[in-house]
C-alpha cells in the first residue's frame, strides 16, 4: 500500500508521499514514490505514485529517459506546452506500461495497476494538479476538490476534509499532512515513514523545499504525540451526550 497527497494552496503546491512498499506483509521495503523534474524558469513537475512498483518505476524511468535526452526523443515532458498536455503524456505512458505487462509474459496474481498524482507549473500557465487513473484518463483538481489522495486514503481523510484551507501556509499544510499521515500509519502497517515532501511556490518555476521526514524526526514525534492529546482536548471541548446544549447566540 501507499499514501500520497497532492494539494493546491493559494501559495503553491504541496506534495507528500510515504515510502513503504510491500509484496505481502512479510516483505516490505523503502522506495521513494515522489519524483520531481525541473527546468529552472520554465517548469517544475512532481509525480506521486501508488500501485504496482514495477509499473510506477517503469513510468518514471521512461519519462526520465526521455527527459534526459529530450532533444533526441519525443515526446519529452520538457517539451509539453501545457500542464494538460503533460498530464496526457504521463497518462499515456502509464497506460502503455500497464498494457505491455498485462498483454505478454507471465500472469501475475496481482494486477499491474497504478494511480498517479501529477502537479506542477509551466511558464505562462497556472499551477495545476491532476489525478491519473490506470486506464489512462485523469481528472484535475479545482476549488471544489483542491487536493487528491492516492493509496490508503481513508484513515487520513477526515482531518484533511475538516482542516484544509486554501490560505494555509506551507508550514501549516505540512503540519496538517503529517497529522493525516500519522493517522494512516497508526492504522495501516503497509504505509510507513519516512515521508518525502515538496513545497512548490506558485510562479517560482524552481523546485521548492524538498525533504524527507524520518520516523524519529523530532518534529514528527511532536506532532504524533501531541495530536493524541490535542484530539482528546478537542473532544473534551464538546458537550457530553445528554448535557444541556449551548444556546445559539442570536
Amino acid at each position: 500500500m501507499t499514501y500520497c497527497v497532492g494539494m493546491m494552496l493559494d501559495r503553491g503546491l504541496v506534495f507528500m508521499s510515504d515510502t513503504r512498499t510491500n509484496a505481502g506483509l512479510d516483505n516490505i521495503s523503502t522506495f521513494g514514490k515522489m519524483k520531481t523534474w525541473e527546468a529552472e524558469g520554465d517548469r517544475v513537475i512532481t509525480l506521486l505514485c501508488a500501485g504496482n512498483l514495477a509499473t510506477t518505476q517503469a513510468v518514471v524511468s521512461e519519462l526520465d529517459e526521455r527527459a534526459k535526452a529530450h532533444r533526441d526523443r519525443n515526446p519529452s515532458l520538457f517539451e509539453m506546452p501545457s500542464m494538460y498536455q503533460m498530464a496526457r503524456l504521463v497518462a499515456d505512458t502509464l497506460r502503455d506500461v500497464i498494457q505491455r505487462n498485462s498483454d505478454t509474459g507471465q500472469r501475475a496474481d496481482s494486477v499491474f495497476n497504478a494511480t498517479l498524482i501529477l502537479g506542477g507549473q509551466i511558464a505562462g500557465g497556472p499551477p495545476r494538479l491532476f489525478l491519473i487513473y490506470p486506464e489512462g484518463n485523469f481528472i484535475e483538481a479545482g476549488s471544489d476538490t483542491p487536493f487528491f489522495q492516492i493509496g490508503e486514503i481513508k484513515y487520513g481523510r477526515p482531518i484533511l476534509v475538516r482542516a484544509y484551507d486554501p490560505a494555509l501556509s506551507f508550514e501549516e499544510a505540512m503540519k496538517l499532512l503529517l497529522v493525516s499521515f500519522d493517522s494512516t500509519v497508526k492504522a495501516n502497517l503497509t504505509v510507513g515513514a519516512p515521508f518525502d515532501f515538496h513545497l512548490y511556490t506558485v510562479d517560482s518555476l524552481v523546485r521548492g523545499q524538498i525533504g524527507r521526514i524520518e520516523q524519529d524526526d523530532p518534529y514528527f514525534q511532536t506532532i504524533s504525540q501531541g495530536w493524541g492529546d490535542a484530539l482528546k482536548q478537542a473532544l473534551d471541548s464538546l458537550p457530553a451526550f445528554g448535557a444541556e446544549l449551548p444556546q445559539p447566540t442570536p
Copy 2:
C-alpha cells in the same frame, strides 16, 4: 455499506449502528441493524449487523423465532449457559444462513456474506463482546482490543484509537462514537443517520438506554459542527513545521 461499533467500558457495553442500506448508490433505504434481546435479571444480548441485508435479517429472524418459542425449540439464545455458547449459536446460525443461500437457487452478483458484533451479559458471568465472521468463527474483545468496528471502519477509526479509554462515561462514549460516525458519514454516502444506540450497564441484566439519533438531532448537529472547529483548534495548538519545538520538561 454500514458502520457499527461495539465497545467495552468499565461501566458497561456501548453499541452504535447506522441505518443505511444500499443496493447500488441509486437504491438506498433505512433499516435498523441493531437487535436487543432481554430476559430481565438473567441476560441482555445485543447484535449489530453488517453485510448482505437478506442474510443479516434471516439471522436475526431465526434467532428471534427460536427465542420467542424457547420452550419448544432448541437451541434458543435464552438457554445458552454462557456468552461463549451464545457466540457459537449466533455464528452457527450466520454460517448456516450464508451456506443455504450460496448452495442453492439463483446466483447473485454479490456474495451473501455478513459480519456481526455480539455483546451482552448472562447472569453469573461478565459482559463479553465478540466479532463474528461470515465463516462462522469469531474473536473476543479484551483489554488490548476493547472495541470492534464492522462495515466502513476506516474513516472513523483514528479518533477511536486516539480517544478510547475504558474509564469513559456513557455520555463521553456517546460523544466519541458520534464524532466517529460523523467522520464516516461525511466521507461515505453509503453510511447514514439515523444512528441506533444501546448503553448497557455492567451487572444490571436489564436493557440500558436504547435510542435513535436523527440527522437533525440538535446534539448531533452540535457535535458535527463543533468537531470541525475543535479539530482546527487542535491543529492550531501544535507547532507549525519549521517552528522551534518546545523543549521537553526535565
